[in-house]
């Protein structure tokens, strides 16, 4: 409790990061309470109410605050539900990447040897591919869908966490407290989990936060290309794609989900960078 209060106080010293956190929490709240706060069903087709503009434009109505899309589906409700998809995909893919990459990194960095060699070469191989093209290839091979999307994102996503953890473990391993633990006869498992892990977890948290925004962008890109979440399930990427053809007569269909995506990713990144500044002792003194 004391630590989180201290953390918040320090974060307040960095207004950009603090706002980032607030907005992220706002989006999470929106995602969690989507069924309560969204005014309509996100998949209800109403062909009599197609292409209605947002309420502030002529022709807009208060029952569809942000207007409707080409099938008359309520844009505000779809954006609210879209936050669910984006955040779920983001947190799940980062979470799985952290666990998978982290465990491999801890083992490889601590024990080294042939195991480390093999994993490192595999990681190098995966790093050689651009992320998006790699994900497109996997999705085209496995077909679209939620589970496949998470798999495609984590298939390469773990590598960065692996490299980070492995490097940190190798640095920590040479420090005196690890040597002391070894000298006391503490088991390897306890040394890794009890001694080393608490000392490197903050850098994993920072990287995880920064990757969260990236994964959300990736999900939107794949959905935009028609490889991710399939319509009519609301995902911002596929909404932007669906609105692309209507930019001239109904700009809001593509633009508003785009703005929702922009704000979320921007704020996650601001928060992530603030977190990084806080955890870096050299920057802390200023």
């Amino acid at each position: 409790m004391y630590r989180s209060v201290e953390f918040l106080t320090e974060l307040k010293g960095n207004p950009a990061a603090f706002i980032g956190l607030l907005v992220l929490l706002f989006y999470i709240g929106m995602a969690v309470f989507a069924p309560i706060i969204s005014p309509h069903s996100p998949v209800r087709v109403h062909l009599d109410e197609r292409l209605l503009p947002p309420f502030w434009l002529p022709g807009g109505t208060l029952s569809h605050l942000l207007g409707t899309d080409v099938l008359g589906m309520d844009l505000l409700s779809r954006i609210i539900y879209g936050a669910r998809i984006s955040l779920t995909v983001g947190f799940l893919s980062v979470g799985i990447s952290v666990i998978f990459g982290g465990i491999l990194g801890l083992l490889a960095g601590y024990f080294r040897g042939i195991f480390d060699e093999i994993i490192c070469r595999v990681a190098d191989l995966l790093l050689a591919f651009p992320f998006l093209i790699f994900a497109i290839g996997i999705m085209a091979f496995m077909g679209p869908g939620f589970v496949n999307l998470i798999l495609a994102l984590t298939f390469k996503g773990w590598v960065e966490f692996f490299r980070l953890v492995r490097g940190e473990v190798m640095a920590e391993k040479t420090k005196e407290y690890v040597e002391a633990a070894n000298a006391l006869g503490v088991s390897h498992l306890r040394t890794i989990l009890g001694e080393i892990l608490p000392n490197i977890i903050h850098s994993v948290t920072v990287l995880g936060t920064l990757r969260l925004g990236y994964m959300i962008i990736m999900e939107a890109s794949l959905s935009f290309l028609g490889l991710g979440i399939q319509p009519p399930t609301p995902a911002w990427g596929s909404m932007i794609n669906a609105g692309r053809d209507y930019m001239m007569n109904a700009w809001w269909i593509a633009t508003l989900p785009g703005i929702a995506l922009l704000i979320l990713v921007l704020c996650i990144n601001l928060f992530g960078e603030g977190l990084r500044d806080l955890s870096d002792p050299r920057l802390k003194r200023n």
């Binding site: 087709v45 062909l47 080409v70 679209p144 009519p232 692309r244 053809d245 209507y246 001239m248």
Partner: protein, 531 residues
């Protein structure tokens, strides 16, 4: 890269010269003095006409593709024995006249004085060579022309004398003439000299425009062929093209293509989406024109697999999807509903068939009878273009208890799965440019047809279609098609769909252009208003 840059630079300079030539006052007077009258308007003979395409051109070889956009560009470079008017009437082009010698033999007399764009005369040998290349196995670089299937039972071509060729069929083929309009004549001597691959990059035809340069994925530049023989006498005024330069610009993105039209970068844009029509109509410089098209859209259901193996379920789908609302709302009314499987504009249409009414109660009842009182899960396959219609249909089906979702595919990935019978329901379309059912029902609803994704195979329908295909007596054929339509209507292997309008936009400077039923973009008698 450097080469491409210099190509663009040359092109830019050329455009600049054309533009400035039109701007200078002395030239302006000269050009309007020379300008011909077209449709009561003086046109600029040195004008450039830029047309926006919705997709890339696949090749410049008229024997080596199956694609509508490619054909619509190629028909400006190449001429065929016959062609079609924008309304779909077959008229002579390179052929002067023809007659059926017997039900399986047709003689075509070739017009005199037709030359290819390299100056060589077009002879009967070129005609024979062209069609041999289309129907002989392995004739194009060891591969068989993908257009072979479009020539049906054509067996061989004989040169009768120096102005007549004879087409010999293995069986009578009633739709030969309209199908012939899709094939263009290539120069034998030039093609044999340069080879198939080189010809596809530097094509020479006997058409209105000669190929100058271009990249099939972005921009194709054509120039008027001044020694053109004049084209079909049935489409006046006979003579060379009315513009000097014709440029096809590939702009797949709808909004970009239409923005280019409104800003004047394009003079004609094809494939205007229905939702954009009011926007374009509100623009002072743009005219929207439309015509009926010949592309049938329908949902095909796999009758080999449950639940669509039951006829009640298939009928329930027809009652449960509010197709009239889709036509009126999603397609803004720019489509015509089809009651059965035949184009509403076809002479073979059975007018006694009325579209299935929207009746969710009846649909639920039929589902109950078929043993699906609680519906079932269904994935409707679609391509990106038609996905909005698929989603609207899915939402209707949800109202009768069917858990329907939509999956959008790349056609190249989806088609093999469809052919294997792995999918349940697909929203697709089939082009039927001659409007005769043999070219629509034959491939899509006869057992073993190449586009039969529903796997519908009714011996009685097969027999009727085969008989109609062999007869040359139209009233009798139409009777057989009528019977087939009734059976298909009742057995409902499709959710019967709609035929879109073919909508194109053009600037007010364009003279004498209107969209064609078959979506061709032949700039035969089209001009640009003189300034």
């Amino acid at each position: 890269m450097k080469k491409r840059f210099s190509q663009f630079a040359v092109l830019f300079l050329a455009l600049l010269i054309i533009v400035t030539a039109g701007c200078g006052t002395p030239q302006k007077v000269a050009s309007s003095a020379q300008g011909k009258q077209l449709d009561g308007v003086t046109v600029d003979p040195n004008a450039t006409l830029v047309v926006g395409l919705k997709g890339p051109v696949l090749t410049f070889d008229p024997a080596n593709y199956r694609d509508l956009v490619t054909e619509s560009v190629l028909r400006n470079i190449f001429d065929g024995l016959v062609t079609t008017t924008p309304d779909g009437k077959v008229v002579p082009e390179i052929a002067e006249s023809w007659k059926a010698v017997s039900p399986t033999e047709w003689d075509f007399k070739i017009r005199k004085g037709v030359t290819f764009q390299d100056g060589s005369p077009l002879t009967v040998n070129d005609v024979k060579f062209t069609f041999d290349r289309l129907i002989k196995d392995g004739a194009i670089n060891g591969k068989t022309s993908p257009r072979k299937g479009l020539l049906g039972p054509l067996k061989s071509i004989q040169v009768v004398n120096d102005s007549t060729v004879r087409f010999i069929f293995s069986s009578p083929w009633p739709i030969f003439l309209p199908m012939l309009a899709h094939e263009q004549i290539v120069p034998k001597a030039y093609l044999e000299k340069v080879g198939d691959s080189s010809f596809a990059q530097h094509p020479i035809g006997a058409g209105l425009f000669k190929y100058v340069k271009g990249n099939p994925n972005s921009q194709i530049v054509l120039e008027r062929y001044d020694k053109y023989y004049g084209g079909p006498p049935d489409i006046p005024p006979v003579g060379p093209a009315q513009v000097k330069t014709l440029i096809f610009q590939v702009i797949p993105e709808n909004s970009t293509r239409l923005a280019s039209l409104m800003s004047g970068d394009l003079q004609i844009a094809q494939a205007v989406p229905t939702d954009m029509v009011p926007q374009l109509q509100g623009n002072q410089n743009v005219v929207v024109k439309m015509t009926g098209s010949t592309q049938m859209h329908m949902f095909e259901m796999n009758v080999k697999k449950a639940p669509f193996d039951k006829v009640q379920v298939r009928q329930a789908m027809n009652y449960g999807i509010n197709m009239q609302q889709i036509v009126d709302k999603v397609l803004s009314g720019y489509a015509v509903r089809a009651a059965g499987p035949v184009l509403p504009s076809s002479p073979a249409l059975d007018k006694s068939l009325k579209p299935y009414p929207y009746d969710p109660q009846k649909a639920k009842q039929l589902l109950q009878e078929a043993g699906y009182p609680h519906g079932f899960s269904l994935v409707i396959d679609s391509d990106a273009i038609n996905q909005v219609v698929a989603q609207a249909a899915a939402s209707d089906l949800q109202k009768i208890g069917i858990k329907a979702t939509v999956r959008v595919w790349d056609w190249g990935v989806l088609r093999p799965l469809l052919l294997k019978g792995e999918r349940d329901m697909v929203l697709t379309d089939w082009g039927n440019s001659d409007q005769d059912p043999s070219d629509l029902l034959g491939p899509t609803l006869r057992g073993g047809g190449r586009g039969n994704y529903s796997f519908y195979n009714n011996p009685e329908v097969n027999k009727l279609l085969n008989e109609a295909n062999l007869s040359v007596n139209d009233p009798e054929r139409y009777k057989q098609y009528g019977q087939a339509q009734k059976i298909i209507y009742n057995e409902a292997p499709w959710v019967f769909g709609y035929v879109m309008k073919n909508i194109e936009g053009m600037t007010k400077q364009v003279v004498n252009y209107r969209p064609s039923r078959d979506s061709m973009l032949t700039m035969m008698r089209v001009g640009i208003k003189a300034k």
